[in-house]
């Protein structure tokens, strides 16, 4: 046999391995496909038995997700005249009219505001701290780093009790600011640990050259280290964003109206008439950004999920 190597698998082994992995992947993706597909089903197709794989797609789920509707009797409908828009038309099939937008848009927007706000803040503070831990002699450095990490071990519900009381006293309950600060505090441990790893990898010689050229330490940090760390900062930011986006425990305990994010809201959609397609539509819209980000992140994924403990 030519080109035979001990460590290289034979073509046949590769085929079998490939098939098994592909098989596993397809099976695990079925639930995700099901979510997306259910979003485009009509309510009766969604609960059909046996489950329908082939169905006529409709946007009912999405329309129901974004609107509130009221039922009307045929006379009232008659008086309204023909439907004005395509989404009006969908709702009319069920003798209903659209009475206004639902809360989903607001909740989604809250998720965006709180997600980006806390990500910006954690990256800003995290980069500064990570740089200091990477380059300077900070007293009790290892203890401080471990302390930062250990804040992640607390069950969220355990932390939520005093934070609930604290926010109530300070008037931060159910505000965007309160949630941004809280998520920043949770994310910052990840940000510091990951960014320290990325900054450690930038050779010190670059800064030293800049310092010799007359830059101050801060200029060297700002003009030399930051651009070098850009990819690391970007992937850390995505991890922080995904965490804030996905968080549920704090959100459900500390927000109820103004600042409520999408995760505590989506499960409440089902309460309104077992409308699975609307739930699926909301779930799909909520999950898509994370899927896109995961694909963008693939190179740094391992590092992010292990707090920088494993690097490829």
């Amino acid at each position: 046999m030519s080109g035979y190597s001990i460590t290289e698998a034979s073509p046949r082994q590769k085929w079998i391995a490939g098939l098994l992995v592909a098989g596993y992947t397809i099976v695990t993706l079925v639930p995700l496909f099901w979510i997306v597909a259910t979003g485009f089903k009509s309510p009766s197709d969604a609960i059909a038995y046996p489950p329908k794989v082939i169905f006529t797609p409709t946007l009912e789920g999405y329309v129901n997700l974004f609107t509130t509707r009221t039922r009307m009797n045929p006379d009232q409908l008659e008086a309204l005249g023909p439907p004005q828009t395509w989404y009006d038309g969908i709702v009319r099939q069920y003798d209903m009219v659209i009475s206004g937008p639902s809360r989903f848009g607001e909740r989604f927007l809250n998720s965006v505001i709180i997600g980006f706000g806390s990500t910006f803040l954690s990256i800003f503070l995290g980069t500064l701290a990570a740089y200091a831990f990477s380059r300077f002699k900070v007293p009790l450095k290892d203890d401080l780093l471990f302390f930062i990490l250990s804040t992640r071990m607390m069950p969220p519900i355990a932390v939520a009790i005093p934070i609930f009381l604290m926010f109530r006293t300070l008037g931060l309950s159910d505000t965007h600011l309160g949630m941004i600060l809280l998520y920043t505090a949770v994310n910052i441990s990840l940000a510091v640990w990951l960014l320290k790893g990325f900054i450690d990898e930038i050779p010190r010689e670059y800064e030293e050259a800049a310092l010799i050229d007359g830059y101050s330490r801060f200029q060297a940090f700002y003009k030399v280290v930051l651009p070098q760390a850009a990819t690391g900062i970007a992937s850390t930011a995505i991890f922080c964003l995904i965490f804030s986006w996905n968080e549920y425990a704090f959100a459900v305990l500390l927000t109820s109206g103004t600042a409520q994010t999408a995760p505590p809201f989506i499960p409440t959609i089902i309460g309104i008439g077992k409308d699975w397609p609307a739930v699926a539509a909301g779930t799909t819209l909520f999950l898509i950004p994370v899927m896109v980000f995961t694909i963008l992140l693939r190179k740094h994924l391992l590092r992010g999920i292990t707090f920088g403990a494993v690097r490829k």
């Binding site: 500064l128 701290a129 071990m153 009790i161 910052i188 499960p267 999920i305």
Partner: protein, 315 residues
């Protein structure tokens, strides 16, 4: 002792000129850079923790803020440790923890081992395979209730398709004996890729020449697997278990939305139990003590485990 160029320059420059040229001293900059982070963590993590400890010694109830505070000493702690319900939820947590780790390690390692055969397109599959773990556990848990519906759910349909059992005859989240497994299945579905990724990094860290040397010594593939592959991946695997262990000990969101702790209290993990005590029964003092006990447990177990991990690493 060797000095970097900048240090040599710094020594050669008179201090007054040096400090003017370099702006803020490194020490000042270090303080300015680290303080905000530490301050935020002190305000949002440590201060609440201290407050929790204080509350845990009282009979405070957050829904009756005006009521007079009574110091009860360690009575909350003794009550918790002798409470049968809490031991039940500890057992539910242990069942969840052990089975998710066993399944995720077994499947995750097998997948990593297969992907490491380096077949064509393995990068693409690895990217797609990890999708479930990045998704919101709450939203995913909520959606799995649909897949688990007895008559219309896809999960029950698939089970009945392969086994012939009537799909409406069992309910994964409604049956006392099945519910603990329903949460294990969803968690395994979500987090197996996590273990897989870490194992894959471990497998890829083993240099080829070790296997080549073993083959020259006529070690059988079976022997190579147990004497090279397993010991060299073990530190990675243990790290994965540590992460999954801590995460699942804290598990709240996915299970709350999937089973809500039910039926009865068969899936009432400690976090769910704690939430009930703290935010439904409003026994703030009592649940603060509960929170401290959980934190000490997870922290203690993790420290012991990390010591073991370091020993394995040093071998």
């Amino acid at each position: 002792m060797t000095h970097s160029p900048i240090e040599r320059v710094a020594f050669a420059t008179p201090p007054a000129i040096a400090s003017r040229a370099r702006g803020l001293s490194d020490r000042a900059l270090a303080w300015i850079f680290v303080t905000p982070t530490i301050a935020l963590l002190l305000a949002i993590n440590i201060f609440p923790l201290v407050w929790t400890i204080r509350l845990s010694l009282t009979n405070y109830r957050a829904n009756r803020a005006g009521a007079e505070l009574e110091w009860v000493g360690i009575r909350n702690y003794t009550r918790i440790l002798t409470d049968g319900d809490i031991w039940l939820s500890m057992q539910a947590t242990a069942h969840f923890l052990i089975w998710t780790i066993v399944l995720q390690v077994a499947i995750g390692f097998a997948l990593a081992w297969l992907i490491n055969r380096k077949f064509k397109g393995n990068d693409l599959w690895t990217t797609i395979i990890v999708l479930p773990m990045m998704l919101s556990p709450a939203v995913v848990g909520n959606f799995w209730t649909f897949l688990y519906q007895p008559q219309i759910g896809l999960f029950n349909y698939v089970v009945s398709f392969f086994t012939g059992i009537d799909p409406s005859s069992f309910s994964m989240i409604g049956d006392v004996s099945l519910a603990p497994w329903s949460i294990v299945i969803v968690d395994t579905w979500m987090w197996t890729p996590f273990v897989m990724l870490i194992c894959l990094a471990g497998l890829r860290s083993i240099p080829d020449y070790i296997y080549e040397a073993a083959a020259i010594d006529r070690a059988s593939p079976w022997r190579q697997f147990w004497t090279i592959t397993v010991p060299m991946v073990l530190p990675f695997l243990m790290l994965a278990v540590l992460f999954r262990g801590i995460e699942n000990f804290k598990m709240f969101d996915m299970v709350t939305l999937l089973t809500g702790g039910g039926p009865g209290s068969t899936t009432e993990l400690t976090s769910i139990n704690l939430k009930r005590e703290a935010f439904e029964k409003w026994r703030t003092g009592y649940s603060s003590a509960y929170a401290i006990i959980l934190f000490v447990t997870v922290f203690g177990l993790a420290s012991i485990y990390v010591k073991a991990l370091n020993k394995v690493k040093q071998r």
